[in-house]
């Protein structure tokens, strides 16, 4: 692994009295695609949200680019080169595709917004076709593209993707994963990908972590995890 861009060390997160993350250690190297797989309710989204400071880690440390960001307010964290395409896409339904994208550039300042938008349109030509349409009228796949495009508008170094395949047709999932691979290869974008679609995610990622009941139980290279019988039994066969 190259120099870590994001590091979680001994992170515990609670919802009230319920512990959602237990002593989580995780590292994402610069230029890597790392995936976090696990069942429903394992704490995958919690881990991602903890990186963003919502909820806040009760103990442990989160470092980004060598700097402790554990206690920074959310909007400060999101202005340091981290961007997120949140679970459920959460695009702005009554605003146009163009306005949605501009919102992504809001925190980074508007100067380079046009150039950035051109790059997003090159990556997802469908969005260019729908530029003036309202976000809420897009199909699920297009909304996911918009959510990723919006996150890219702030020129992030680290992209957090929370279940981009959720509720999408297999063909669309392939398109989106292909776009992630392209981004990573061509721009060196670092990606932390949370997925239930373990097979696709592990094939895409350089490395993977398995989260069970809030604790990391396995880690390794994507292909290596794919080959492990216990992973096959738990996440690949039997429906996932």
């Amino acid at each position: 692994m190259s120099r870590p861009l994001l590091e979680l060390a001994g992170v515990d997160t609670f919802y009230g009295a319920v512990q959602a993350l237990k002593n989580v250690d995780l590292a994402v190297g610069e230029g890597e695609i790392v995936t976090l797989i696990g069942a429903n309710g394992a704490g995958k989204s919690t881990l991602m949200m903890t990186v963003c400071g919502q909820p806040r880690a009760r103990s442990g440390q989160i470092r980004y680019d060598g700097e402790d960001i554990t206690h920074l307010p959310t909007h400060r964290i999101m202005r340091r080169g981290i961007a997120q395409a949140p679970e459920g896409r959460r695009i702005f339904p009554r605003m146009s595709v163009r306005e949605n994208l501009l919102m992504g550039a809001e925190s980074a300042g508007q100067n380079a917004a046009e150039a950035e938008m051109a790059r997003v349109f090159a990556l997802f030509p469908r969005l260019a076709e729908r530029e003036r349409q309202r976000g809420g009228t897009l199909s699920g796949g297009e909304q996911q593209m918009l959510a990723i495009g919006r996150a890219l508008m702030s020129r992030p170094r680290l992209l957090l993707l929370d279940e981009p395949s959720l509720g999408l047709a297999p063909l669309v999932v392939r398109q989106i994963f292909q776009a992630i691979r392209t981004l990573n290869r061509e721009t060196g974008l670092t990606v932390l990908l949370v997925e239930q679609n373990a097979y696709q995610a592990l094939r895409l990622a350089h490395r993977g972590y398995v989260l069970v009941n809030g604790a990391i139980t396995m880690a390794g290279a994507g292909a290596e995890l794919l080959a492990r019988p216990e992973i096959r039994a738990a996440y690949l066969e039997g429906g996932h």
């Binding site: 963003c52 919502q54 307010p73 959310t74 909007h75 964290i77 999101m78 202005r79 961007a83 997120q84 949140p86 959460r90 695009i91 702005f92 339904p93 009554r94 605003m95 146009s96 163009r98 306005e99 501009l102 919102m103 992504g104 809001e106 925190s107 980074a108 508007q110 003036r132 349409q133 309202r134 009228t137 919006r150 996150a151 702030s154």
Partner: protein, 428 residues
Amino acid sequence: MNARGPLADAFLSALIALGLFAPMVGLETHVGAHGIALAPRPLAVAALVGAVFVLRLAVRLWQARPHRAAAGPGAARARLAAALGGTKRFLIPTLLAIAVVMPFLASRATIDLGILMLTYVMLGWGLNIVVGLAGLLDLGYVAFYAVGAYSYALIAQATGLGFWSCLPASGVLAALWGITLGFPVLRLRGDYLAIVTLAFGEIIRIVLLNWVSLTGGPNGISGIPRPTLFGLRFTMTDGPGTFAGFFHLAPSPTHRVMFLYYVILGLALLTNWVTLRLRRQPLGRVWEALREDEIACRSLGINVTTTKLTAFAVGACFGGFAGAFFATRQGFISPESFTFMESATVLAIVVLGGMGSQLGVVLATLVMIGGPEMFRPLADYRMLIFGLALVVMMVLRPRGLVTERRPSIMLGAAARAAPLALAAEEVG
């Protein structure tokens, strides 16, 4: 749409009406020889219940009428949107022209009504920033109106300054109170926010009512200075320093009313202009994004705290301006003018107009404030007609009078095509 038949539904409505009207209308008190006696009025009840039955049946049958499937809802919507876009182009300049010329043609009473309506238009536009754009449901907007009015009255009394010098201070103080309200409610949304803002409005009113040494309590403040035109006073004489004297006119009380009318017209247009400008700025876009999805805003690195506070502050500032104007127009203020009813009316204007629509606020004010005034000759029945009109309006246009949302940014040719496309999606 429920599965009950129209007849059963109408019968049920009639039953509810019977339950309501039997005690409220069906019993009349008479002062008889042995104190008060009750007399039944079965005919009145029967007439009302019958009317409810017939009306409900009519509504249900109208709703169930076969739709013209051939034309398709899409085509109908597009036509409606085109018509809306067309009328809008003429409607706004026409309304503006009427507003500017009106004082020279109308009677004094009509100008007074115009001032009242413009005050509500301004309050509606101010609240539209908070509710329509930022999506923060505020039931206590009257508090800022009150703060503006009392700020002007108290500062003017203490310092002897005039309306124009005190106006900015009223706006700033109201904005500060907007931020003060904003802080505790930052984490609240929807119903909870509404309850707290409602309480805030009441707190301000009750403080004004009980802080007798400062505000005069229920007696209010009188002798509030009237506004001047560059130092020219509006009086019944034509001495030096008066408007009539300077322009060699016969002194007339109408001058001041007309002047007040143009002051509030200017203030309201200022509110509109600032709002329209802000909508095209990043700040306005962030407000709208906040209305759409707060969590997404956070994930994009937007500081939700400052965004909400600016919405409260800007909205409150215009409420404060309107309050100062109210004080200078009346010359007298008391807590009675700042009840929850005012907040509810302004909110109704915003909702009825279609949240976030500037033109909608104007149309809704014409209906909400102008309507009851127009029906004044009908005496007791006017509120009945007014209520009926509101119900009909919400049935026909449940999302408000003007439901179109223009994108805040457009490119070249898209500037003409896009609003219609968006309206087509939204109308109906």
